[in-house]
Symmetry: C2
Subunit: 343 residues, 2 copies
Amino acid sequence: MSQAPKPKLLAALAGETFERPPVWFMRQAGRSLPEYRELRTRAKDFIAFCFNPEMAAEATLQPMRRFPLDAAIVFADILLIPQALGQDVWFEAGEGPRLGELPDLAVMRDKIESSTAHLANIGETLSRVRAVLEPERALIGFAGAPWTVATYMIEGRGSDRSGARTYAYQNPEKLDALLDILVESTARYLVMQAKSGAQVLKLFESWAEGLAEDVFQRIVINPHKAIIERVRAAGVDAPFIGFPRGAGALVANYAAQVPVQAVALDTQAPIALGTSIQAGGKAIQGALDNLLLRAGGPALDARIDTLIEAWAGGPYIFNLGHGVLPDTPIENLDRAIRRITGR
Amino acid sequence: MSQAPKPKLLAALAGETFERPPVWFMRQAGRSLPEYRELRTRAKDFIAFCFNPEMAAEATLQPMRRFPLDAAIVFADILLIPQALGQDVWFEAGEGPRLGELPDLAVMRDKIESSTAHLANIGETLSRVRAVLEPERALIGFAGAPWTVATYMIEGRGSDRSGARTYAYQNPEKLDALLDILVESTARYLVMQAKSGAQVLKLFESWAEGLAEDVFQRIVINPHKAIIERVRAAGVDAPFIGFPRGAGALVANYAAQVPVQAVALDTQAPIALGTSIQAGGKAIQGALDNLLLRAGGPALDARIDTLIEAWAGGPYIFNLGHGVLPDTPIENLDRAIRRITGR
């Protein structure tokens, strides 16, 4: 009997190396694709779109039909968790997320238990995608990391995070309690995603930048460790990718302490940082500049070659350092993915 | 005959260590001081204020009267250089800088020679300050680094720099030519500042963040090296402080290659990064979170103690990781400086 091929992404996460690394792109699904923009018009708002398993599964699969990508990532949003904890969340067209008043900690704590059920449709999206995705292509589930989600919950919108960072100094106990609530709800959410078909779990710490080392330890490293511990305690052994975006030299602290299987690197990660993480026994992911992907041309080809040459000697997953920009030309995506995969 | 005491800041830049490090704060002069806000009302606009030696010298000296700081930094702005090269620069109240159309490269190249004379009043400010500043307190001159200044020149205002970074990919020859012009004019400007009384020269690369390693080499490291070479060739031996703010792990590349006497670290620099730079033979400066200075309290005291304990074993200049925020309470500045100096 022939065995189903192991997805290349999972092999890389288990430490295998490839001359041509597995590849997927953050925000590969979404506004850069015309078929997504068409699909999106059918939902009344972005949150409703995320909670509709049929539409979200379709959005997840759209880039998989166009490109020979090694992984799909469930179409969802990091702000579904605050909503599940009782905070109002909506999206202003062309402006981004807006959140209502931060609920009392006690109110949110009482909703941890029910938050996973509130997010059941995301599990349904994963099941639908897994049912039709080819076995050699992996399916990734994800959540926003507690600090990043907390910045939105505290500031009520995207920001430079100085309000949330000030909150961290002025209300340390309250922030720690909020992070604890997010650790608990996020761990349960990720367990549910794994049980629904996610083979890899990614934690997006999109706003790790600008934090002093002691603060980074307290609000990034410790909560990530706590989430992974809880997910493992629930019997889920799916590999984790951690993405401490903007953490700079603190990425080394993160890689040394957080038991992820891969560290996703952002655009400014030096080559040597990546190889040192590989030498420490973890895979790496990244780190093409999304602005270069959008700009295209020979400089794009050259940078792709540089990254593969530098990092494919160890376990490596090709990706961007940040998400695909909405106005990225499709031909640049196509050109990059062909160069990476050789197909 | 008694010798004038060597300023503690210069001693640290020459490699000396102190149980209590020398201290100054970025933006120690300016809007956090009521006497500055009063003084500022006397000039018609911010550019005129910077070009008025009497007012600029007074602004430079104001924090020196209030606090036992080890250094004054000339009150000026990084956007005086584009103005000297023929680009319109003005400040919208409450919004920040605005710049007119980028002049032709040939036009700007022709103005390199005259740009230093255009900036002569900044030299006059330095002379006035040096004439009255106590000999044990150092005087710092500065300029914006070429890439940071170029981001404003290209985008016409403060921004997320994605326009300038895209320009770097799409117009590499034009960007390199612009950086060359800025290297030449900035080197001359710094030589003039040294000859006018600046004992230390600082290069502010305020927007080093988010750059891929190869781009960082080309647009940050190489221009910094070129400026310092030119300043040395002009016979100026004043020590340099380089501040690649936001460069993350690339700070190590910077420290290894740029012949500055000190590397200024931003808020997120890990302790180990600082000690490794010291071990490599350079002084370090930084890196208290300006949000923590504004927040105040016991957490501020504790972090000050941590930084001094961690870094004062090597050559170290106490400072922030970014500038003093305008709404920082004076009592927090006072509390911090007293704790650092023990006075």
